[in-house]
């Protein structure tokens, strides 16, 4: 669906995107994360044929960026960083404009479909300027979907929204994913990326890493299991450290924090060993690093 090879964008003295190479298959929700000014929006603009690359190539929906720009724009949907609605015009009129520009076959029906789907039908005659930020964002999402694109670029879809609106938008993105649409999601909300994305790419002018959130966590921090005991001791930790599959074991308060590759396979063995050593296990849990930890670690290292 998206094939990017060494895509580079330079603005006079600034290198905004440096040799980005990335493949995103159909139906994937790809999270594009990075600090402000990392070049995420520039990348989206290149992939949606709004601006041209300095070098490198990208194929979007089978169309070459820089050569088949109109076809790209016709085949993708984009939610820009700012909703950019015509505030003086009604919600319905706003969408009708775009339905016609995207050459939608039955613009009226399509506009009605998305206004209803996003709960804006009753406010269709109201000027977009009277809408709350969340409603404007929903209207902008409807605009991006009017021509039923299979590939969607969402730039900060929940930025600045209250928790309820953000939740609504996230649910909607989840529905889009279920429909099998490919979504390129730029976000600062790491929890959102963790929940919605199949894979994430962390980007700061160049791509630092791409993988599933789970694998990134494991690669960076390993998998950690916490054994809550009646009483933990350094002796128990030392016994675990001697096991070949345990990378690290620490006794902290009444807990043993154990780093290992495959808890599903090795936990029973550890439990048997601890019980054999007279430890009383209260419960066992996995310590899960947040995507924020992963992100901060990677961006800091970059």
């Amino acid at each position: 669906m998206i094939k990017i090879e060494n895509l580079t964008k330079k603005f006079t003295a600034t290198l905004a995107v440096d040799r980005l190479t990335l493949h995103i298959p159909e139906g994937e929700v790809f999270g594009f994360l990075g600090p402000n000014g990392a070049g995420k929006t520039t990348t989206v603009r290149m992939l949606t044929a709004l601006i041209g690359p300095t070098s490198g190539s990208a194929v979007v929906n089978g169309f070459q960026v820089g050569q088949q720009d109109t076809q790209i724009r016709r085949s993708v949907g984009i939610l820009t960083e700012s909703p950019g609605m015509y505030d003086n015009l009604s919600a319905e009129f706003n969408l009708m404009i775009y339905a016609r520009l995207y050459e939608v076959k039955d613009p009226k029906a399509q506009v009605e479909k998305y206004l209803r789907m996003l709960g804006l039908w009753d406010r269709r005659q109201d000027e977009a300027g009277t809408f709350s930020k969340g409603m404007k964002q929903k209207l902008a999402i409807a605009r991006a979907l009017l021509h039923e694109p299979r590939l969607l670029f969402l730039d900060e879809p929940t930025a600045g929204l209250d928790p309820e609106s953000a939740h609504l938008v996230r649910d909607f993105i989840e529905d889009l994913r279920k429909e099998g649409r490919t979504i390129f999601l730029c976000t600062h909300n790491l929890d959102e990326a963790d929940r919605l994305c199949d894979r994430i790419g962390i980007f700061k002018t160049h791509l630092l890493v791409v993988d599933t959130p789970e694998r990134l966590r494991n690669q960076l921090f390993g998998r950690k299991v916490v054994f809550h005991l009646q009483s933990a001791s350094e002796m128990l930790a030392a016994s675990l450290r001697s096991m070949p599959f345990v990378h690290e074991a620490k006794a902290i308060d009444n807990k043993l924090l154990v780093t290992l590759d495959d808890p599903e396979v090795h936990n029973p063995h550890i439990i048997r060993t601890l019980v054999g050593l007279g430890a009383e296990i209260l419960f066992v849990g996995e310590l899960r690093h947040s995507l924020e930890d992963v992100y901060l670690q990677l961006v800091k290292n970059a």
């Binding site: 603005f11 603009r45 949606t48 709004l50 601006i51 041209g52 109109t70 076809q71 724009r73 016709r74 984009i78 820009t80 700012s82 909703p83 950019g84 609605m85 015509y86 505030d87 003086n88 015009l89 009129f93 404009i97 775009y98 016609r100 520009l101 995207y102 050459e103 902008a140 605009r143």
Partner: protein, 262 residues
């Protein structure tokens, strides 16, 4: 064509909610139409001589011999005001066109618009026509009102013939739309290069300067417009218009506009 039509309808729906635009499209033509009518009315009794032999020769040359000196004076004075009908298509679209790109920039609506499959030529044509059509129609309507008002005031076929000679028909119906094209495209060029609608309007207003030069040139007697001059003027305008339309499309750099937003 459907996309151009959509842009025109969008522009009209949007800009006509702007009071300044409504003012410029309605009030200015009314004012510019009223001025020559007031002149006609005020000079209706000027000079009762049956001939124009009492006029200075250089002045009498401008009038048909069938007119009295009073009528000649009336025609002369009103004709000076006719140039207002050439100013209208220049001034009216400035507000609409200047707002068209900068307005989109300030409301951040240009990026989603540029993300649609619309071509730059379609977008610029839509914005052109959206600004040009009201200006030209308002000018022609004003001219129509002036013609009716002139007949009511003058009630003389000879004066009417002198007032509505082919030169002014050319000026209003040929040069007028060409001036509107010049004004709109100049405004779009300026508008796509600046970030503030007020700056765009002020810079775009520069386009009226050459016409003011003609106005003052004629009123001071430096030269007098005639059909040939208007034809020449229109031909030059046609040439300039082709250039500014080309430049407006060329200067409308999507990338520059998007990436230099402040």
């Amino acid at each position: 064509m459907q996309k151009v039509k959509t842009i025109i309808l969008k522009e009209w729906a949007e800009v006509f909610k702007n009071r300044m635009v409504v003012f410029s499209v309605i009030f200015m033509p009314l004012l510019f139409t009223a001025l020559p009518l007031i002149f006609l009315f005020a000079t209706r009794d000027a000079g009762m001589s049956e001939t124009n032999s009492d006029l200075p020769p250089q002045f009498a040359r401008l009038c048909s011999p069938e007119l009295t000196s009073g009528q000649c004076f009336q025609v002369y004075m009103s004709s000076q005001m006719m140039i207002l009908f050439m100013m209208m298509p220049l001034i009216i679209p400035v507000n609409i066109a200047a707002y068209s790109i900068v307005g989109e920039k300030t409301t951040r609506s240009l990026e989603p618009l540029l993300a649609t499959p619309i071509t730059t030529a379609e977008l610029v044509t839509g914005k052109n026509l959206a600004a040009m059509i009201p200006a030209v129609l308002a000018t022609w309507l004003g001219f129509g009102i002036y013609a009716i008002g002139a007949w009511i005031i003058v009630q003389d076929e000879r004066v009417m013939r002198a007032l509505f000679d082919p030169m002014w028909m050319l000026a209003v119906f040929v040069a007028g739309p060409l001036l509107a094209i010049l004004s709109v495209n100049f405004s779009i060029m300026v508008s796509s290069r600046v970030n503030d609608p007020r700056v765009a309007e002020q810079l775009s207003a520069v386009v009226i300067v050459p016409l003011l030069a003609i106005f003052f040139g004629q009123i001071s007697g430096l030269f007098f417009l005639n059909s040939l001059l208007i034809l020449l003027f229109s031909a030059v305008l046609l040439f300039i218009d082709a250039g500014v339309v080309y430049l407006a499309v060329r200067l409308f750099q999507r990338e520059t506009i998007l990436t230099r937003w402040k």
